[in-house]
């Protein structure tokens, strides 16, 4: 459940950005013969709708409709009682309906009976929403439009890079200020949580390996957990719809962590070629292609990696063994264009909490 600051900053995300994206979508729709583009959103699949409309649901679900002509519409399951919040956080007009599929179909059919409707991630659309859209009539024909949108947003725009860097700064500061001084991990996590949310994070997920000698798996901590000789914490931070992950290992020699940092940075610089991660015990690259903010794209676990597009924003994490010590490290990165090396967007250097990315 989203509990952080969900707000539209017009200085960080001007209306013109959304208008340009919608215009580009319409060009793609024309080329594909699509009359209306539809994207679904809920608490965990926010990135598609937020890219076009800024809106992020903390609760319930919604459908964004981009018609080839006319005003886009956001249909949400939230009530009119929170209309003031909806209108402050959405670039497009909001329609409230208990059954978003039914209302979306009605709006589309009203403007274009028998329309060809391109749905991003049609296979993943919830059954109830899909059934409602079909049952609403209007002769709508639903097709998948995932690739069209993926191509539109493959390379990050300057505002996306800036917002991801802001999220990275929050994550880094939260981890920098956290101390592994106690016997238990609770106070460390509490510090990270407070810091991130006080800096305006929309969300922060903390996963920890409290005792790296026992397990390197990062998990959500329920109850208390004792800190071991070394521990790792990953902060996943969302800021204005942009998600990054950063990982810090605590209670390790600075020289060992510095060596891990260098290996990590060198491996990132070689991307999209993943060969730099051959020395890592495990590694993972995630990014946003459509609706899932951080989708696994490549990694030691990913048997069918996705081609990493030039200019894409990604979050990278890796695990190393440095002189017998397990070290987990992670940070957001920006892939290069035209042969340029990829670069870390935010350095995983936690010594200075005030350092800019």
């Amino acid at each position: 459940m989203r509990r952080g600051l969900i707000a539209w900053s017009k200085s960080e995300l001007p209306s013109a950005v959304f208008e340009h994206r919608i215009a580009r979508a319409r060009q793609a729709m024309a080329a594909a013969g699509i009359d209306a583009l539809v994207l679904y959103t809920n608490n965990s699949r926010t990135a598609g709708v937020s890219w076009f409309a800024g809106f992020i649901p903390y609760w319930s679900e919604g459908l964004l409709i981009i018609p080839r002509q006319g005003t886009p519409a956001l249909v949400v399951g939230l009530s009119r009682r929170v209309q003031f919040w909806l209108e402050a956080t959405s670039h497009v007009p909001v329609h409230n309906a208990p059954r978003v599929g039914t209302e979306a179909a009605r709006i589309i059919a009203e403007g274009a009976p028998g329309a060809i409707v391109g749905i991003v991630d049609l296979n993943g659309l919830p059954t109830g929403v899909a059934d409602d859209m079909t049952a609403a009539g209007g002769g709508l024909r639903l097709i998948d439009a995932t690739q069209s949108v993926q191509q539109l947003r493959a390379a990050a725009e300057p505002c996306e890079i800036a917002l991801a860097a802001a999220a990275g700064r929050i994550a880094r500061r939260a981890l920098s200020l956290s101390r592994a001084d106690d016997q238990e991990i609770g106070p460390l996590l509490a510090t990270a949580e407070r810091e991130a949310r006080s800096l305006g994070a929309e969300e922060i997920y903390l996963a920890a390996a409290p005792d790296l000698e026992r397990s390197r798996h990062l998990r959500r901590i329920e109850g208390q957990a004792q800190l071991g000789h070394s521990a790792a914490v990953r902060a996943t931070v969302a800021y204005k719809g942009h998600w990054v992950r950063m990982t810090r290992t605590f209670r390790v020699a600075e020289s060992a962590f510095a060596e891990a940092r260098n290996r990590f940075a060198d491996a990132v610089a070689m991307l999209p070629d993943p060969k730099g991660f051959a020395a890592a015990s495990s590694w993972l690259i995630e990014g946003c292609r459509t609706a899932q903010p951080l989708e696994p794209l490549a990694g030691s676990l990913v048997s069918e990696p996705v081609a990493l597009p030039p200019g894409a924003l990604v979050s990278v994490q890796a695990s190393y063994e440095i002189r017998g010590a397990p070290i987990l490290i992670g940070a957001p990165a920006l892939l290069g264009h035209g042969g340029e090396a990829a670069a870390l967007l935010c350095q995983p250097d936690f010594a200075d909490a005030a350092r800019a990315c």
């Binding site: 059954t127 949580e193 329920e222």
Partner: protein, 366 residues
Amino acid sequence: MTLAQERRQRLAAAMTEAGIDAMVVYGNAWQGDYLRYAADFGILEGHGIALLQANGEFAIYLDSAVEFERAEAETTGVQVRFARDIAHGVGQELDRIANQNLVAAPRRFLPRFLTDETRRYSLADGTALMDSLLMRKLPIEIECLRRAAALADEGYAVFREAARPGRPQYELVAEVEAFFRAKGCPDNFMILGSGGVDVRGMTPPSARQLAKGDLVTTELTPAIDGYFAQICRTLVLGRASPQQQRAFGLFLEAMEAGIAAVRPGATAADIARAENDVFRKYGLGDYVTNKYTRVRGHGLGLFVDSKPQLLEDVDLPLEAGMVIIVHPNTYHPEVGYMVLGDALVVTESGAEVLTRTPRILFEVPA
């Protein structure tokens, strides 16, 4: 036997009784209760689909690599599988057992690929079966909710201390969330509102700064072992005005009327009506309609807003062991949006109230 094992045993027994060969259970960060019940995994990112078979095979599919890693660490007795194309991954497995009696819960949230009529198998709706298990709590589940309710009380004390003029709303949430994290509570549902007659509901925090005289409303819903308990309270920054005190008196009377109506056999509608009749008595019947309010309470458990919903058209009878919150939250025309709610367990004779924070209109220094 652990809580997860007890739940799984109960689910397996229900499947056997209903002649179900395999249950497909879906979860995401918004609706994670069914998945948590079956697989004891509190999903945060992506889709999660568990497949529980009558022959004992049990697997959970996740399309997020970090969730896969988490599930390997956090679950026992279940095979964890990473499937980036989760719909096809699960679909292949269902094709393999297509001739069996398969059900899904909650079916309406399952990716449409899996329920498409062209599939070789057929997936009936098993949501009601799981809803029944989710509503009717085991003693061990109720104990988790007692602890969560105590934590909610503590969290509200932190909220009261944090609420001061000039602070933006999101800083209050930061304080409460930090407190919960320090206590080992990884999840909480929390919305709030601040202001006067301009405020019609609660939302995630904004950058709006608290001001003297504001009514500040919140509902805190921390989770212990996945079980969410909720408290709703209103405070005033400074001294409450006579109008605010009078309005609060109405909410208190409504909530207490609702709680007094709770007993096995009373319906959700009875409870809602008891609350709403108080508003009607004072000529404020308009403010218990859906123009101003959503529900007059709801179930609590592995989801923050479970069944039964307390509405005048919900005829579900309450049973001992159900856990609900009674909250006549709504807009008051003189003062703005107000909330008041306590979590309770339905007992054989009535109700055991779980949250203990005083039922007063709190005043904090301004």
